[in-house]
């Protein structure tokens, strides 16, 4: 898209003098130092009108600080040097008042957590009245209402009037983020800064918001600085890419250059750490297609298994390397599991007649968007939520038939790993204490034995024995998740329930944690329920998958069936929505990139 298209949308903030300057935002040698610690070590970045520049990096890379420093909202203790020019005008060194006017007139900002971007006590319409008063100098209520309606309609909200008269808590995450984008578009800014705009959203919702951002850029010719950790998002919508690590730029270029033929080792690491949908599908699809051609469909139950509401869902293992002997009883057997939450004004069916079986050494992935009931399922297995089920067996025993004391013993055969590494360990206790806690609860284990088993558990998650003396806040997020896994493994559980264990982690760290988990399962051969919103992670790890939607299992089967040849349209929609770093490279206008792309990057279901 060229600069000339901007003229079609002549907003009040449009500066005619700037159209000749292709660089909308130019950061040159931007440095930020806080308390003597360099956060940004000389960043060069350019955003052009009508293009999306992605700033990619993992946590601590300084990408959010870049945004804050640019808009003059860096913490007071930060020293910012270098140059940040918006339409040729230097932003650094301006007074707070000047900066505020610049932000009001030429800049829009979108944050990660839409629920926290809006004041919970104000209706959307009131927020817009405030903002329009400042950014567009609209004082009259009817005019503000009209403008609000236009803005909300422009971001694809189907019923702007209803949205405007809602409080933030009455809107969904996707609607909220669209409202925030509409707010950012008020005053017709030339530049939008979007800091992880879709990270908190479900994939199908993310897809819509990304499409919206692309459309805004194309239609209005504004520039977007997109800050993200997600190579998939970059691949989907960015035009230019800057890769940041530890405050230093590792690579700069167009999306085709950086994702198609990365030169910096760090970029390559980042890209290879992105979980691919079905890396193993290559082998498996070769095998299964061979089977199909032979007509030797020995697994007649595959069809029923794929329907999801079938009880005998997960028999017939297709991967003999991790499969269970048919004679071995499953670790978990659940049939007709329902969970009902009572709410004010009725009850809500969080899980509706679902079931599965997991054998030793197998991983069953539960996939779904927020509110699909996947976490509830995990909790119901260990009695954390009241549930009804026709069959509920852990290790061949129905915990419901036992006395409370015996039930505790059965539940203790299940280890739990949670999403948030910050809260999954007792902050006041050492790592060694936390890992050994299950042993103390079980009782009857000698001191020397405890130490030996703690060290073994740490070994299993590849942490050195010296970590026993550490406190959780002295560990990184990935290390904490590994400690959580070690704690879950120390009783040699027959079942591990991992609820989004890697969602809060950077991709490279996620890759390590998943590898640790995979090795532990291979070694100790426990069954694992792996709960995730991330199809790619599940696809790279699980043997069987259940796709959940609003408490119902829409599709169930082996990972190859479900993700490789999905039957249900919802599964297909989910798969379609997963951001893919290389989709545009493959389908895009430059087939030359295809030849240099990594082979696994082209694998999609």
């Amino acid at each position: 898209m060229s600069d000339s298209t901007r003229a079609t949308d002549a907003g009040p903030a449009q500066d005619p003098g700037s159209t000749g300057d292709p660089d909308l935002l130019a950061l040159r040698n931007l440095r930020v130092t806080i308390a003597g610690r360099p956060i940004l070590k000389g960043l060069d970045l350019t955003v052009r009108a009508g293009r999306i520049t992605a700033l990619v990096g993992e946590s601590g890379s300084g990408k959010s600080m870049t945004a804050l420093a640019t808009i003059g909202l860096a913490p007071a203790s930060a020293q910012v040097t270098g140059s940040a020019r918006l339409r040729g005008e230097e932003l650094l060194g301006r007074s707070p008042q000047q900066m505020r006017r610049t932000r009001a007139g030429g800049l829009g900002m979108i944050f990660q957590e839409p629920g926290q971007s809006l004041s919970p006590v104000m209706k959307v319409s009131a927020v817009f009245r405030d903002v329009l008063g400042v950014r567009e100098n609209i004082r009259s209520r009817p005019r503000a209402a009209q403008r609000t309606r236009d803005l909300l309609a422009s971001v694809g909200l189907p019923d702007p009037d209803r949205t405007a008269s809602s409080y933030p808590h009455e809107l969904s995450g996707g609607e909220l983020q669209r409202v925030v984008i509409a707010l950012a578009l008020s005053g017709d800014p030339a530049l939008l800064i979007a800091d992880e705009p879709t990270t908190a959203l479900d994939v199908t919702v993310q897809r819509g918001v990304l499409d919206l951002l692309t459309r805004i850029v194309r239609e209005r010719g504004i520039g977007v600085l997109l800050i993200t950790h997600d190579m998939g998002v970059v691949g989907e919508i960015a035009d230019d890419v800057v890769v940041l690590q530890g405050g230093e730029v590792r690579e700069t270029g167009t999306v085709q250059q950086v994702l198609g033929a990365p030169t910096a080792p760090y970029t390559q690491t980042l890209l290879s750490a992105v979980p691919r949908l079905l890396p193993s599908l290559e082998r498996a699809s070769a095998r299964s297609s061979a089977e199909q051609k032979d007509g030797a469909s020995t697994r007649g139950d595959d069809d029923t298994a794929a329907r999801g509401d079938d009880d005998a869902a997960t028999q017939g293992e297709s991967d003999p390397s991790r499969g269970t002997a048919a004679s071995e009883p499953p670790v978990v057997r659940v049939e007709g599991l329902s969970v009902r939450y009572d709410r004010r004004g009725g009850s809500h069916l969080a899980l509706d007649d679902v079931g599965f079986e997991i054998g030793r050494g197998q991983i069953h992935g539960l996939v779904g968007e927020s509110g699909s009931g996947k976490s509830t399922w995990g909790k119901a297995l260990v009695g954390l939520v009241p549930a009804q089920a026709r069959v509920l067996e852990l290790d061949g025993t129905d915990p419901r038939s036992l006395s409370p004391a015996a039930r505790r013993g059965v539940y203790a055969r299940a280890g739990l790993v949670f999403q948030d590494p910050a809260s999954s360990l007792n902050p006041r206790r050492t790592v060694g204490w936390s890992i050994s806690e299950p042993l103390h609860l079980a009782g009857g284990v000698g001191r020397a034995d405890v130490d030996r088993r703690v060290h073994h558990a740490l070994e299993q998650v590849r942490l050195p024995a010296s970590y026993t003396q550490r406190l959780p806040h002295e560990l990184s997020g990935g290390q904490r998740q590994r400690v959580s896994i070690a704690r879950a493994l120390i009783l040699q559980p027959s079942l591990l329930i991992a609820d989004e264990p890697t969602s809060a982690l950077d991709v490279t760290v996620q890759a390590h944690v998943i590898e640790v988990l995979r090795e532990a399962i291979e070694e100790a051969r426990f069954a694992c329920v792996f709960i995730s919103h991330d199809l790619a992670v599940v696809g790279s790890l699980a043997d069987h998958v259940t796709v959940l939607r609003r408490g119902r299992a829409v599709e169930q089967g082996t990972v190859h069936q479900v993700l490789g040849s999905p039957r249900h349209e919802y599964t297909r929609a989910l798969l379609e929505s997963v951001p893919d770093p290389s989709r545009r490279l493959r389908e895009g206008q430059r087939p030359a990139c295809e030849s240099v792309g990594r082979p696994e990057a082209t694998m999609r279901g």
Binding site: G409, Y411, G415, S423, P464, S540
Partner: protein, 313 residues
Amino acid sequence: MMTTSDALPVEAAVSLDDRTARTPVWRAFLRPVPAAAAVVVAASVLAAVFAPQLSALSDNDPFTYHPEALGPDTAPLGAFGGVSADHWFGVEPGTGRDLFSLVVHGARVSLLVGIASTLLATVIGVVLGIVAGAVGGFVEKLVEVATDVTLGFPFLIFAIALSALFPLEAPRALLLTLVIGVFGWPGIARVVAAETRVIVRQPYVVASRVMGARLAHVLRHQVLPNVASTVIVYSCISLPGRISAEATLSFLGVGVLPPTPSWGRSIGDAISWLLVDPAFLLFPAAALFLVTFSFNILGDTLRDALDPRGAQR
């Protein structure tokens, strides 16, 4: 794809060593203001313990009248309330008692009642708060009602009425401790209950309960260590208020009985002498202010130092 297993080495133990050296709590008191506050608190505690000896240094005690130090209008002779080599803080107008002795002996009642009532309030508050927060339901409602009733109770009127009923020969310091302590628990109970409610929902508590932990284990190992610093800090910050409460009651004449020295009563007496002898107000009031102010600073310093995440500033 994912990193292969041989490319995933055991994490180097040195990687975080700069963060592992935990700063001991006392280091927080090396900065000038907290250090000064610590010195004031230590000095006041020492003064309370060694009050007779300190008085004896200037050959005084808090009970002997010194009419020779008073003028004909019974105001102290000499400048600044009669400050002299014999009477370091001057003398009390009307009686001529040595003011320095009154102030150091006054520290005894103030600190004793302040600290003992804080301990009492903390124990009641923590027990009720933790139980309410962890058990929830009916028990929580009960504690809430008790909290509201206690907070709504007219404390001063009750204390004054009670002291009228209380036999004169009974120990007044004990009565003050009981009254201030028993009325002081709702604040800490609320704070502890709120924190406990959050803690028992934390994943690490859920994990431990699933693995068979009983409530007692959760309270002892998960909740108590995590509310401990809040409790310590809250007590430290509420202690000055209780010292003031003692002073208030003594000021109103329902605290410790004369002739036991007390800052509150000295301040009360000084009000009527303010125009003639402002120095009489100065010394006990300064003592009260310095001690309460210093305890507040200690509380703030402790709060920052006890946060395991090490507040960075």
